[in-house]
Amino acid sequence: MKLNIKMSVVIAFLLTKGYSAFTQEGKIDCAAHVFKTIPEALEYKDCATKLSMRVAKIERVSEQIGNLKAITYLDLKSNSLRELPASIGALSKLEQVIISENHLKSLPETIEGWQSVRFMQLDNNSLSDLPLGLFKLKKLNTLDLSWNNFASLNSRIGSLGQLKILDLNHNSLLVLPKEIGKLKALQEMDLSFNKLKAIPDEVIRMSSLKRLALANNELEQLPRNIGKLKKLKSIIVTNNKLTQLPESISALKELESIYLSYNQIGKLPAALYKMSHLRNLVLVGNPIPAAEVKALKQALPNTNIVF
């Protein structure tokens, strides 16, 4: 009798711990199944690949997560996390990480272990700094750091040679390190809603750049040699303090759209009149004489000019 009570306690204990011998009913396809909790995934710890605890109200991630070595997809979006456990760095197969909308103030240095990671979404947290380990993630191609508290970026950002998309909109950036120019694979860079007064000239080395968003900063000029960014398709500089555009802009043969609303541009460069490949040119809120706009419209009949 005594033994029996003990037994049921043992069994109850094991059940709550989720031991597979008791709870495994049907077979789960590890490659497809999205696990919702860590204990659930731990039952399949050698094969569970996807873990999503999106909007799960969690405030802390168990150190146990480090045992889920096969995870490739991790979604912790919209919780109340302030930190991540160091063991999370053991997930060396991780490819996609989504930790948007939490309260993270920092990331553990151990994320250096995420050597397979390609995609990281960390928007809407309270980050002001990145661990050095992050700059060693050689496969990283998308990094979303928008809506955080960055005032500066570590110059090691330049070592993320595979990066294609870098989103830093809505931070408090005052400056960019010149090393950012080393991001040769970068195709999209969003720096809107920061406090940038200038863009380092080195930016012109980002030879893959297609989209450059700089809206709502305090920029007084664009890099003089911006014409070197041959792949550029769109430039968004709405709400800055530009007074002119660099002449070299006319060298941008792929350029489709320029958004210049709410700057202090009084005169447009002559070369602009020859950019017949432009699709959109938005000039609202600049002190440009009406006659000049009219002339421009005549010169560029196929361009949608908004003034």
Partner: protein
């Protein structure tokens, strides 16, 4: 029949096997099991006491009976506070967060209303007739949050390491916030609550073997509290901390060493787990406030920073260095209300703060607009009103200076100084400017002769009747909130434009509002340090108050509201403090015990 038996046996053996495997993989000690049970029991009690309050409210109970319910529920919370705060910080905020509006940066205009005990307290203890509607809403909110602590609490993984870590942090919470009335500002039930909290600590220590020493001093601390719990104003906090709680913390530290219980690894914490007590020398880990990769121990870097700090070539007209405003002999202030702007013959917007201990703050500037010193340096040099320097120009000037380049080469491997390097060096220098060896620090480290009787009384007032300690948290005496010291509080005091108390006018600097556009930040400023205040007059972000006496009088009146300003969202309580002449003198004397303008000079580089 037979078949069934067989399954049972099979079940039995596999259970034992699984159990054995489980045990070895995840060994639960007796202590951990007991603590878990303790948590479960008390979180249940917390929930039922809040439910009881809901019931009483529904059946028309009066204010006095609700106040009793309120006190009871808080006592249950105090029993598990250490763990809720440690493992469920968001729930802790919802259960016992400050009664302050917040917002998310993404939705600055959207207020997140506070919930929990502190909001409920204002309703239940209101001097107006009880607002039943509000009481119901707040009690429901509290019930929801407490239930969350129960549901999420079921997943807490207790270990001996994190149990002791949580308890120690809770002792820090007790001495910095608990006994100052921080989280029970209206009910003033702080000392009885401190008893509940320490009793819980005692019970939990009891689960640890050979914890006799810990229990002994906890019992003594409890006895001390019990004897004095009725006298909030007169409670001798200095003695309580120095004679009981600090030694208790040291014993926990020793216990962990003796019993080989590893200290919690907390690389992202300002106060590491492996220090004896909160006032131990070097208790605050400076690297917590520095960006990743910052060099904290490079003498060459700091030496270069010192040279740059005094170098006028950093400014546009070569006539201003950092030391022009942050004068070393004036504790790195300038003694002026406002210094001169370089632009248009104006004054600067803000008073020059001391740089001693500036590195120990999670944010810089009185509107908290910057996190790291490196970025602060950029902001000052590039600011046309302050220095107006252009980094390209500075670099080429410095590169031509042979003496400078010698120091530069000692710190960096580059050919000529880059903007990044200038910032790093200056930040490294500012990080050497620490002052944590004041009379107060020495007292807390055990030198009972370090403070005079007036200073000790002043400390007790500071931490009690005068409420200063509810905003200026020990040991930095800034708004960096214990026990993690990662979030800097800003407050609305209603600072006047000048020290004119006959025709006072409110200062119209919008403060932190200017940075984030959140309405509740209007006129709020970073809670600046009180350390060295005796030598850094004049005071406040605008330098409007000329002496410590004027400052204490300002608080004594109830801040801006006391001066007659209509400032609805002032976060400083608007009631007069009713300090006597002697009490004001003693507070001033205590502030004098926070002076240390010499320690930094002893750092060799």
């Amino acid at each position: 029949m037979k078949h069934q038996l067989k399954t049972k046996v099979l079940l039995f053996t596999s259970a034992v096997v699984a159990l054995a495997a489980g045990m070895s993989a995840n060994k639960k000690s007796e202590i951990e099991t007991q603590v878990k049970r303790y948590y479960d029991l008390n979180v249940d009690s917390l929930n039922s006491s809040v439910q009881q309050m809901q019931q009483h409210l529904a059946t028309g109970a009066g204010q006095a009976s609700l106040q009793e319910d309120f006190k009871k529920a808080r006592v249950y919370y105090k029993r598990i506070e250490a763990f809720v705060e440690y493992h469920l910080p968001e729930s802790a905020l919802k259960i016992n967060g400050p009664n302050l509006v917040e917002s998310e940066p993404s939705l600055p205009e959207e207020p997140i209303l506070p919930t929990g005990f502190q909001v409920l307290e204002e309703v239940v203890y209101s001097e107006e007739p009880l607002d039943r509607q509000a009481a119901k809403m707040e009690t429901d909110g509290l019930a929801f949050a407490c239930n969350r602590a129960k549901v999420l609490g079921a997943n807490i993984e207790f270990t001996e390491t994190n149990i002791l870590d949580a308890l120690k942090l809770n002792l820090y919470r007790l001495i910095t916030k608990g006994i100052s009335g921080f989280d029970a500002p209206v009910a003033l039930n702080s000392l009885p609550e401190a008893i509940a909290s320490l009793e819980a600590t005692q019970k939990l220590f009891n689960y640890f073997p050979q914890s006799g020493e810990l229990l002994k001093i906890t019992t003594a601390a409890l006895q001390y509290l019990q004897e004095h719990q009725g006298d909030f104003d007169g409670f001798d906090r200095a003695t309580f901390i120095a004679d009981y709680i600090n030694p208790l913390c040291v014993l926990v530290y020793d216990y962990q060493l003796a019993h080989k219980i590893p200290f919690a690894q907390a690389p992202n914490r300002a106060i590491p787990a492996n220090i004896p007590h909160l006032f131990s020398p070097g208790a605050i880990d400076l690297s917590f406030y520095a960006p990743a990769g910052a060099e904290l121990n490079s003498k060459e870097l700091a030496a270069l920073g010192k040279i740059l700090f005094e170098d006028k070539r950093l400014s546009v007209a070569n006539n201003r260095s950092c030391a022009t405003c942050h004068i070393p002999s004036k504790a790195f202030t300038d003694g002026l209300a406002l210094n001169e702007s370089l632009v248009g013959g104006k004054k600067l917007m803000r008073n020059t703060p001391s740089l001693i201990n500036a590195a120990y703050q999670p944010v810089q500037f009185s509107d908290s607009r910057i996190t790291f010193l490196e970025d602060q340096v950029h902001a000052v040099i590039a600011n046309p009103e302050e220095m107006g320097g252009k980094f390209e120009q500075i670099q080429s000037l410095l590169a031509k200076d042979k003496a400078f380049m010698k120091s530069y080469k000692a710190a960096f491997s580059g050919k000529k100084p880059g903007a990044d390097e200038v910032k790093k060096a200056l930040a490294a220098y500012v990080r050497t400017l620490s002052g944590f060896n004041s009379s107060f620090d020495r007292f807390m480290q055990g030198d009972k002769t370090a403070m005079t009787a007036e200073q000790l009384n002043g400390f007790n007032l500071f931490m009690g009747k005068a409420k200063c300690g509810t905003c200026h948290f020990m040991p930095t005496f800034t708004g960096a909130a214990p026990p993690y010291y990662e979030k800097m509080e800003s407050e609305v005091l209603g600072v006047p434009q000048s020290n004119d108390t006959i025709n006072p006018k409110m200062d119209l600097d919008s403060g932190k509002y200017h940075v984030y556009g959140m309405p509740h930040h209007l006129y709020s400023f970073k809670t600046a340090t009180v350390r060295n205040a005796a030598v850094t007059a004049p005071y406040m972000h605008n330098g409007s108050l000329k002496t410590l006496r004027e400052l204490i009088d300002f608080y004594n009146r109830g801040g801006g509201q006391g001066l007659g300003f209509e400032l609805e969202h002032q976060t400083l309580p608007g009631d007069p403090l009713l300090l006597t002449e002697q009490e004001k003198k003693n507070i001033e004397a205590f502030i004098g015990a926070l002076t240390d303008t010499v320690s930094y000079k002893k750092i060799q580089f």
